[in-house]
Symmetry: C2
Subunit: 105 residues, 2 copies
């Protein structure tokens, strides 16, 4: 195998959650759900897994009368995500072409 890709991040749902949190820093459950268009069940499951591995921290509050679940990316989460992208690009032999293209545009 090349560099093993982190199985926590090698998932459509979790990678998009982490990518979103990496931009936003933190976001609440409903925002993530609407933004990413995933079901609440799936989101709940994946957030718990991400928390379990310290990629995010989840805090629960009330906003008015309703529960509010806030998800924040951790430093570990950020590092793992960075590593993931470095690793996956090492699989891409066209990297240089792509880089060139990106810079030109």
């Amino acid at each position: 195998m090349y560099i093993e890709l982190d199985p926590i991040l090698l998932s459509n749902a979790r990678l998009s959650i982490m990518s979103l949190l990496n931009i936003q820093g933190e976001a609440d459950f409903m925002f993530i759900q609407k933004e990413l268009k995933i079901t609440a069940g799936n989101l709940s499951t994946q957030l718990n897994k991400l928390q379990q591995f310290d990629y995010v921290i989840i805090t629960k509050q009330f906003k008015g009368n309703y529960p509010l679940t806030i998800c924040k990316i951790t430093n570990k989460g950020k590092l793992m995500l960075e590593e993931f992208f470095v690793a996956i690009n090492s699989y891409d032999r066209n990297k240089e072409k792509l880089i060139h293209y990106q810079i030109e545009s």
Copy 2:
């Protein structure tokens, strides 16, 4: 969800097989197995899946007395792999930083 990542390629085993075949064009079963250090069982399964979706074509010959399974990447396979890397990089907000770094080195 962001851009949905191709589930065929969102797998450590299959992504490394495809990445290898993208460089080599074609390779035989044993070469792939030794190169990627995956079990024969896993390789067999994943190659069948890749063939099923026309990412590779598998031809069987004999080399001397022993069977020889040759795997070749298809045009579709190449295209899907390219797309995959473009898509996954769209998840990376640090892309520009990384590009810069890569160019400098």
